[in-house]
């Protein structure tokens, strides 16, 4: 069933896009990662222009994160004060990212930058996840005793102007989460990812937030920043394809629900290993695309 995507300007098989959304949603539900870092590259492999893939993927993430935010709100698993600071940073970051995106587009380098960032990002995430899963599955031996993690990072403790974040159990400068939000916001605009895979570890190991509020607060940040990013893409690059986003959402919201049920029946380490392999495969494919002679040496852009 072919369907015409009005902004991408081409016809795609609708069922294929829904299925892609479904698979990513399934992974989201099983493992708890957003999946934007898989959706965007796979859309690009399908021939969707990178700008449209990035912008529409952010729109889709807004929809997939809402149910998580609601669930965590009910369990009081959201630190709103911390969330507000990170979101403020995220919106500033997405504004800066939007500017950067336009600049790279005018220079004709946006496609290369998106692919390159993805290769770096996916290969490092993939390797980290594979290592962790392999250790858990007793394939790799843990390397010595892990150093006891210090709760407070000295760099962050040095920052001025401390605030109290009660739910996170922290007394730190709001500058740290602001900067963290800013950097993630830039990534959201450039790559169409929610950034949870960076935000969650950073909240735990860098900021030292208490574990109960990490996921909920991160989801709230993803919800707000992807919504802001959709607005930025809609008004500057004009590459949000609402039809594409809806097709992806149809698959992913349903997939996520089933994924959550599946997850209880499978070993989490196996799941993580599985995801690590997929992530590495996508990184490899993207890397090959960069280094192989492209099918089009010449490209055209309207002025």
């Amino acid at each position: 069933m072919d369907i015409y995507l009005p902004i991408a300007g081409l016809s795609v098989n609708a069922l294929m896009i829904v299925a892609l959304g479904g698979v990513v949603g399934l992974l989201t539900g099983m493992i708890g990662v957003g999946g934007g870092f898989l959706t965007t590259p796979i859309l690009i492999f399908f021939g969707i222009p990178p700008a449209v893939a990035v912008a529409s993927s952010t729109t889709q993430i807004t929809g997939t994160s809402i149910s998580g935010v609601l669930a965590h709100t009910r369990r009081k698993g959201v630190d709103y004060r911390m969330g507000a600071v990170i979101i403020a940073g995220g919106i500033l970051g997405s504004l800066a990212g939007g500017f950067l995106f336009r600049l790279l587009q005018e220079m004709g380098q946006i496609d290369t930058v998106i692919s390159l960032l993805y290769v770096i990002l996916l290969s490092s995430i993939g390797v980290l996840m594979a290592k962790e899963a392999a250790t858990a599955l007793d394939i790799l031996k843990p390397r010595g005793e892990a150093k006891p993690q210090r709760r407070h990072n000295p760099m962050i403790a040095m920052l001025p102007m401390r605030w109290r974040f009660y739910r996170s159990g922290l007394y730190i400068s709001p500058l740290a989460p602001l900067i963290l939000g800013f950097l993630t916001g830039i990534l959201t605009v450039l790559l169409g990812v929610g950034g949870g895979f960076i935000m969650v570890p950073a909240m735990i190991y860098l900021l030292g937030m208490s574990a109960q509020v990490v996921v909920g607060t991160s989801l709230l940040q993803i919800l707000a920043v992807t919504a802001a990013t959709t607005m930025i893409h809609a008004t500057t690059t004009r590459s949000v394809d609402i039809v594409l986003a809806v097709l992806l959402l149809l698959g992913s919201v349903v997939g996520a629900q089933y994924g959550a049920r599946f997850a209880q029946k499978m070993k989490p380490e196996l799941l993580r290993m599985f995801l690590a392999i997929i992530v590495l495969a996508v990184a490899l494919r993207m890397g090959l695309q960069l280094t192989w002679r492209p099918s089009e040496i010449y490209t055209m852009q309207l002025l």
Binding site: S67, Q109, L249, W292, I297, Q301
Partner: protein
């Protein structure tokens, strides 16, 4: 098809009397091509009649060339090169007016029916497109970019050359089929027909065709351009609504 041809013949026969110059009566199968949700391309039939003075077909062989040309736009063409193992855009050239679609069909290969100067004047053939390059670029580099652009457009079926695409029936009726691919740009197209004899154009006629995104798809594309802020709000709201509805449904189920 046969009935149509015969009907046209009868219809145009009286008109053909008492004229000094041959005339073309062109028509197209669609005046308007609509891009809808399942658009995967279309085929246009360009046909018509050749009216000779007093209905007499001349002895010298006449040929017909048909050109379907899309909107002219200023563009930048980029060239990828390998830099440190990675293929990236390095060079670029600007062109002030490049047709976004160009298909030419003729009854015989262009080289055999028209002299080079005439072909250049009427922009007949992919080698004769006037792209109006921007300044500051070496001629040989310019040729490379032009060739690269034309080659890329040809492979995407946005530029086409069919040297045997026009069929002439009984010297007075002609027809050509032109395929329009799915990724065709929207806008006003012109379908030009040329009657060619002894290497010269002896008659020509033009028809306009509009290619438009209509229905929901057209509305979405226009909304994204014109009311981009509202479009963004609607996109976010739709996404939130779908996500919320799904979780509500599954919680109950």
């Amino acid at each position: 098809m046969r009935g149509l041809r015969a009907g046209l013949l009868l219809l145009v026969a009286p008109l053909a009397l008492g004229q000094a110059q041959p005339r073309l009566v062109p028509e197209v199968s669609h005046r308007q091509v609509e891009i809808r949700y399942s658009f995967t391309g279309a085929q246009l039939l360009l046909f018509g009649a050749i009216l000779y003075p007093r209905g007499r077909v001349p002895e010298a062989r006449t040929d017909v060339a048909v050109v379907l040309k899309g909107p002219m736009e200023p563009i930048v063409v980029r060239e990828r090169q390998r830099v440190a193992g990675i293929w990236m855009n390095v060079g670029r050239a600007r062109f002030r007016s490049a047709p976004q679609f160009y298909a030419i069909a003729s009854s015989r290969p262009l080289r055999a029916i028209i002299d080079e100067r005439t072909a250049a004047i009427y922009e007949l053939g992919l080698g004769n497109l006037q792209l109006s390059p921007g300044g500051g670029i070496q001629p040989e580099e310019l040729r490379r970019f032009e060739a690269g652009l034309i080659d890329m457009m040809r492979r995407n079926l946005l530029y086409q050359e069919n040297p045997r695409g026009v069929e002439i029936v009984e010297d007075v009726l002609y027809q050509a089929r032109i395929d329009i691919p799915a990724r065709v740009p929207v806008g006003t197209y012109t379908a030009e027909t040329f009657l060619i004899q002894r290497g010269r154009v002896i008659a020509g006629a033009v028809r306009e065709i509009r290619i438009e995104k209509l229905g929901f798809e057209g509305f979405v594309a226009r909304a994204a351009e014109r009311w981009s802020f509202t479009y963004g709000i609607v996109a976010v709201a739709t996404s939130l609504l779908l996500g919320w509805a799904a979780s509500a449904l599954f919680r109950r189920g």
